[in-house]
């Protein structure tokens, strides 16, 4: 490494801009999956594989409620932080993490009870692709929150801009909105 030290520092004030641009780009992958799903479903002759009646919606609905309320708790956590209440921030942040983890648990329970697999035609393929890819984002979100929680114990870390927290919270709302669209597509729109 031969560069002078000051050049190797990042420009933290641009991090949020970069992250928002990333989220816009990331949303296009979901858009691609959603439009692919809609195209395949509307064109399908037999959407459901033999022996499958449809998707059970009660557990996922509970999961939806959990995920939407976690968007509220993360907002409360951010508010606590902006008021300088670090303990309140940690409490709501941890609650959000717990809700996220519960969502992942609920998803795992749902997956284990299904009679179709990833390779059961396009129905199974799209179902696991959409829920799996979204679940990966939820897991990433929980991981990022854990990272921010640990960082909150570093003294003076949040004295200046809290861009990491802002970015994580933004990511969490994004994951939430994606889930709502996903829930409507997969569970509400059952009849082909």
């Amino acid at each position: 490494m031969t560069a002078t030290p000051h050049l190797n520092t990042e420009h933290p004030k641009h991090n949020l801009t970069g992250f928002i641009i990333f989220l816009c780009s990331e949303s296009v992958i979901f858009l691609a999956f959603f439009s692919g799903f809609a195209l395949l479903k509307t064109a399908a002759l037999n959407w459901l594989p033999p022996g499958v009646e449809g998707l059970e919606w009660r557990t996922p609905l509970l999961n939806t409620v959990v995920l939407i309320s976690s968007s509220g708790t993360i907002w409360l956590a951010e508010r606590c932080m902006s008021k300088g209440n670090l303990m309140g921030f940690r409490a709501f942040w941890l609650l959000t993490m717990a809700l996220g983890a519960y969502f992942l648990y609920g998803q795992a329970v749902e997956w284990s009870g299904l009679q179709f697999g990833f390779t059961s035609g396009v129905f199974g393929g799209t179902f696991y692709l959409l829920t799996g890819f979204h679940g990966l984002h939820v897991a990433t979100g929980v991981f990022l929150m854990g990272l921010m929680l640990v960082k909150s114990f570093i003294p003076q870390n949040y004295a200046g801009g809290e861009q990491g927290v802002q970015a994580t919270s933004l990511f969490w709302h994004f994951v939430d909105v994606i889930w709502i669209i996903l829930f409507v597509l997969l569970y509400v729109w059952q009849r082909s």
Binding site: H6, L7, H11, I21, V28, I29, A43, T119, V122
Partner: protein, 558 residues
């Protein structure tokens, strides 16, 4: 700002070793990108030589048919994902920070990671030549069902490596795009509003926005393709309820805009260079800037024109034919702006200017065949023939690569600090221009006569035009020799370049050659007028006279 603090002194550390490691300086990364890209360019070019060697005679006598399928697939993939995109990212790294007066990119480490992904996925792609079954052989589109076949049954196969490499290339490009867009939006010098920005930055912003919107769709489609190939899903398999045409939508939703990702920065290069070598302001600056974003908007809704014969609905054919033709309007605005710039200018026919003029000529030709291809009946008639191959290569080689060469000759003195040789440069131009036209023009009559693409043997009636095309291709191969010779010898022992050898106007020309590591550092000049003030005498920045005097004194004392 006092002139005593400016200009910054030239860089002290110019050791070669920094080009071989993880460096976060945008100018080092830029050169790393460009040199890596040209390494792969030679491999892709060698494959092109094999293709044209095979096609110089009607029977399939040079390589095995299956090998041939792998060769054209890899030629296309390497040239796009390992040459054109990296070389443009290299130019972006060199030009964007210096043109807007930023010390470096917004995210220097992300920038270096994005670069180092290139040799990694390059190795994956080249490595696929050595796996059982050889490289991917389904063409650079990799349409299913061909691309979801795995006859040998190995988990690691050419097609799987191809998809992984393309997905990694997407990750690298997204990282680059986030960086370029953030840098342009947030790090411009004082006084540089959007309509004071050089056109190259406008076109880079437009092109990188397209990357951000388009690439995720391709990545999503590629993930599903990999699942079909390796894990037995049926997203694109009709027997499982899937639809192969869905992949074509994903693929072209990105890969058509990808052509604009390539050509927009080249429009930027033309817009930078024509004013310099015509000594006139860019004609219609504001319209040229805005046309870039009109191209972005329209470029996102033309992709189905690649799928006219794929069984899409008639309304789609009509809509996409219309939207494709509409793109000729903003593109035409640019072409006329360049002609208006050259018109009655004091032309200086240097190597970069010759490449620009040649590139513009080829681009107009490609634009005409493009309008022909947009028309549904013509497109269906010549679909999958050499007409399409000819059109595409006029755009990519005839216009884009020639524009890139122009940029390299133009900015070489700035970033290397030495002058390239004019004689070798002009020889390079002459061979490239003749070679490209001799190579790609005969493809049009061949396509109209009905010669299909991606075949290694053909009817003897096509022989005449194929011989011409192959001779042109070999000429193009030869044209690289003076280029490489020029670059290497100029870098090693070329005459020292002054800070502004072409008498150009722009922030990058107010830096020493080569610029110091943090460019202007703390002393970024304030921009007070629009770019391209040639012949107007208006200074670009505050204290311009003092800055230039200091730079000249610095050079005289060196």
């Amino acid at each position: 700002m006092t002139s005593a603090t400016f200009p910054p002194s030239p860089p002290e550390n110019t050791s070669w070793s920094r080009y071989f490691g993880f460096n976060t300086d945008a100018k080092v990364i830029g050169i790393q990108y460009i040199v890596t890209a040209f390494f792969f360019f030679l491999i892709g070019g060698l494959l092109a030589m094999i293709i044209r060697g095979e096609l110089i005679t009607p029977p399939a006598d040079l390589v095995d048919r299956t090998v041939y399928n792998g060769i054209y697939t890899m030629h296309g993939t390497i040239m796009l994902f390992l040459f054109i995109f990296p070389v443009l990212n290299g130019l972006n790294n060199l030009l964007i920070p210096t043109m807007i007066g930023a010390p470096d990119m917004a995210f220097p480490r992300l920038n270096a990671v994005a670069f180092w992904l290139v040799p990694i996925f390059g190795a994956l792609l080249i490595g696929s030549f050595f796996v059982p079954g050889g490289p991917a052989y389904s063409g650079w589109w990799s349409y299913p069902p061909v691309s979801t076949q795995n006859p040998l049954g190995h988990f690691i196969n050419g097609q799987g490596l191809w998809i992984t490499a393309v997905a990694l290339s997407g990750v690298s490009s997204i990282m680059g795009a986030i960086n370029f867009v953030t840098t342009i939006l947030r790090m411009r010098s004082p006084g540089m509003g959007f309509f004071m920005m050089p056109v190259y930055c406008w076109t880079a912003l437009a092109a990188q926005s397209l990357q951000l919107i388009g690439l995720p769709a391709l990545t999503g489609g590629a993930v599903m393709l990999l699942m079909d190939l390796s894990f037995g899903t049926s997203f694109y398999q009709p027997e499982g309820g899937g639809d192969p045409v869905l992949y074509q939508h994903f693929f072209w939703f990105y890969s058509h805009p990808a052509v604009y990702v390539i050509i927009l920065p080249v429009f930027g290069i033309f817009s930078e260079l024509f004013p310099v070598y015509s000594r006139k302001p860019l004609f219609g600056y504001v319209y040229v800037c805005l046309a870039s974003f009109i191209i972005v908007a329209l470029g996102l809704v033309v992709w189905v024109h690649h799928m006219f014969p794929s069984g899409v609905a008639q309304w789609m054919r009509n809509f996409f034919m219309f939207s494709t033709m509409l793109i000729a309007v903003p593109t035409g605005v640019k072409v006329f702006a360049w002609l208006g710039t050259i018109w009655r200018g004091k032309l200086r026919l240097t190597t970069p200017m010759l490449f620009c003029l040649g590139g513009l000529f080829n681009f107009v030709f490609a634009g005409i065949t493009g309008i022909m291809l947009a028309t549904v009946p013509v497109d269906i008639h010549v679909s999958n023939t050499y007409f399409v191959v000819g059109h595409f290569h006029y755009v990519i080689y005839g216009a884009a690569v020639m524009g890139i060469f122009a940029a390299i000759y133009h900015w070489f003195p700035k970033f290397i600090g030495r002058m390239p040789y004019e004689g070798l440069g002009k020889l390079h131009f002459l061979l490239t221009f003749i070679g490209a036209n001799l190579n790609f023009l005969p493809m049009h009559p061949l396509g109209l006569m009905g010669m299909p693409r991606r075949v290694s043997s053909y009817d003897p009636e096509f022989a005449f035009w194929n011989v011409l095309a192959s001779l042109g291709a070999f000429l193009l191969g030869v044209s690289i020799i003076p280029f490489l010779l020029n670059m290497v010898s100029a870098w090693v022992r070329g005459p020292k370049a002054p800070h502004n050898p072409w008498n150009a106007i722009g922030l990058e020309w107010l830096l020493p050659s080569p610029p110091p590591e943090d460019n202007f550092g703390e002393h970024v000049p304030t921009v007070i007028s629009r770019p391209y003030g040639y012949g107007t005498g208006a200074p670009l920045v505050e204290h311009q006279a003092e800055i230039e005097k200091q730079l000249t004194l610095q050079e005289a004392s060196a």
